[in-house]
């Protein structure tokens, strides 16, 4: 078992909590002093920085949401003057104003440390050749992984996303050992490899570090079998820092959240109440070392559970369960919550079903309709209508019993569902509500 920073990653929980409290107090003081929007929010609930005396006092502080970032667009929540900000990232802003995040020199160092930690946890080292196929640019994925891989001392191939044939050629020629991208892009790479006649055994690929979208355990199995690699889940979000907030270790029993930099809570998404350890709910994260954009109690919209038990890998940091879905990706069909990853998990349990699918939600009259499109691969195809209809009915039955909502399965031609070089689009919602 190798660690990047064993002292921090394996520190005793009591030392860790002392460190967290000290850093939390500093963060709250700075925010109250330098960010008027935070001062106002705290004044509204009658909390002063001095009121934070224990870690438990964190729950007295108000939440921060995506709309707080938008309301203070672009730099209103920054706690440092722009002269101290060395980098800015931003969301694409497809659903409104983009959310903008800033980093000081030290923030970039922290982020690089966290990513180096994450890469090490997934087995990478300075001997690795890391092909980074996350998009470079305003998106935090590309540059975040890049700086961490350089910090680690690995050889980085900054391919960014796209031009898949060239990616595979370089992977082969440069002897890439670690691939970093979204899980859906990893699968697209495998498809293109097949078209090019490149076998996994022609590559030196050992591990993949996949994130930026929710993916199921069955998807992991699929990727590991097809590409013949070890696949790790990485978690992060730009509002907190970017990729590297949490990473799986070799045990793959949850993702370790870097608790020397973040405090994690689970809340009831409806009431905002903090839930006890082990309960399922929305992940809330507080940054305790960020300088340019410290964030208190950020509502991630991601649903998971937390586990503080000591991991077999020796790391003491709390583990979050693999995220089932972001509540933004969740579709509500006739009052039932459906996550694309649940559909994925069911589909990949059916032999011969390929990991490409699309949920199409529509409303007919007053009734929501969920259509799940599934590609008919060669192994599923039958020359007889009856057998294909039986296949459709079997998939429908599995989905309906897992989701608890009626589903219409539509069998579609192979490769007719759009392939993604970044975050896959899993849902089309045609309801105008």
């Amino acid at each position: 078992m190798s660690y990047w920073d064993k002292e921090k990653e394996c520190m005793s929980r009591s030392d860790l909590e002392k460190l967290q409290l000290r850093r939390l107090k500093e963060t709250v003081f700075r925010l109250y002093a330098f960010v008027p929007a935070y001062q106002q929010k705290m004044d509204e609930v009658g909390i002063k920085p001095d009121d934070i005396r224990t870690l438990d006092d964190l729950k007295k502080l108000p939440f921060t949401t995506k709309s707080d970032l938008r309301d203070n667009y672009p730099f209103g929540l920054f706690a440092l003057p722009m002269s101290e900000v060395v980098r800015v990232h931003s969301s694409s802003g497809t659903t409104g104003k983009p959310t903008v995040v800033g980093y000081s020199k030290k923030d970039i160092d922290t982020w690089s440390e966290l990513m180096a930690r994450a890469l090490t946890s997934a087995g990478a080292s300075r001997l690795s050749v890391i092909q980074n196929s996350y998009g470079y640019g305003l998106f935090t994925g590309g540059l975040g992984v890049h700086y961490g891989a350089e910090k680690l001392g690995a050889s980085v191939i900054p391919t960014s996303g796209g031009n898949t044939k060239r990616q595979i050629m370089l992977m082969q020629d440069f002897g890439t050992t670690v691939l970093t991208c979204t899980p859906s892009y990893a699968l697209l790479m495998y498809e293109v490899m097949q078209e090019m006649g490149v076998l996994p055994s022609d590559l030196k690929l050992e591990a993949g570090i996949f994130g930026a979208e929710p993916w199921s355990e069955n998807m992991r199995r699929e990727i590991e079998n097809k590409l013949e690699i070890n696949a790790f889940d990485i978690y992060g979000l730009s509002e907190i820092i970017g990729p590297g907030v949490a990473i799986e270790c070799n045990c793959k029993k949850g993702l370790h959240i870097a608790e020397d930099h973040f405090i994690a809570e689970i809340i009831d998404p409806d009431t905002g109440e903090v839930l006890p350890e082990g309960a399922f709910g929305e992940l809330v994260i507080t940054t305790i070392t960020k300088e340019a954009l410290p964030i208190i109690r950020y509502r991630t919209r991601d649903l998971t559970t937390l586990n503080k038990n000591l991991c077999d890998c020796g790391r003491t940091h709390v583990r979050m369960e693999k995220v089932l879905g972001r509540s933004d990706d969740m579709v509500i069909i006739r009052g039932v919550n459906v996550f694309p990853s649940m559909v994925e998990h069911v589909l990949l349990n059916i032999p011969g079903v390929e990991p490409y699918y699309l949920l199409v939600v529509d409303r007919k009259g007053n009734l929501d309709q969920l259509e799940v499109q599934v590609e008919v691969s060669e192994s599923l195809f039958s020359d007889e209508i009856r057998k294909l209809e039986e296949l459709g009915a079997a998939i429908t039955k599995e989905l309906e019993s897992a989701l608890g909502v009626s589903v219409k399965v539509r069998l579609v031609e192979p490769k007719s569902i759009e392939r993604s070089e970044g975050k896959a689009k899993r849902v089309i919602d045609r309801r105008n509500i």
Binding site: V376, F381, D383, L388, L411, E413
Partner: protein, 142 residues
């Protein structure tokens, strides 16, 4: 006995034309065809002059393709011709999954393509009853 090529098609405009275009550009001639369809998808079944190449070309073009063994039976091109063959098949307990007619003819006879449950059984029964059917190479050359 003959090899039929089956192609999965979504019920979308232009899908059939793209299959036929791919085959046409490769110089493959369609000799018989039928389409089975539901509201969402269809299966195109074709007999061509070169099934092996057709299979390869369609697969390369990204279609879901399979090969199925069928039998091409000569049926007298007169009223009651098909009925006579079907009666014989029924007597022999030959279950038909589907059938369709060939585009051309073989002399004075019509040709009908049968997909049966048990093709070996069909072959023996047809031979025993003197119902003429075409061998693979005869069919593709027509």
């Amino acid at each position: 006995m003959a090899k039929q090529i089956s192609v999965f098609l979504e019920n979308k405009a232009g899908r059939l034309s793209s299959v036929t275009r791919v085959l046409g550009e490769a110089g493959i001639n369609i000799r018989a065809l039928s389409i089975a369809d539901t509201s969402d998808f269809g299966i195109l079944r074709i007999i061509v002059n070169d099934p092996e190449r057709a299979y390869k070309i369609l697969k390369q073009a990204g279609f879901t393709v399979s090969e199925t063994e069928v039998i091409a039976v000569k049926v007298s091109d007169t009223p009651g011709g098909l009925a006579a063959v079907l009666e014989q098949m029924s007597d022999q307990n030959l279950n038909i999954e589907y059938l369709y007619a060939f585009l051309g003819t073989s002399g004075d006879d019509a040709l009908v393509i049968f997909k049966v449950e048990d093709i070996e059984h069909a072959r023996k029964a047809f031979t025993a009853k003197g119902i003429p059917f075409l061998e693979e190479n005869q069919l593709y050359r027509l």
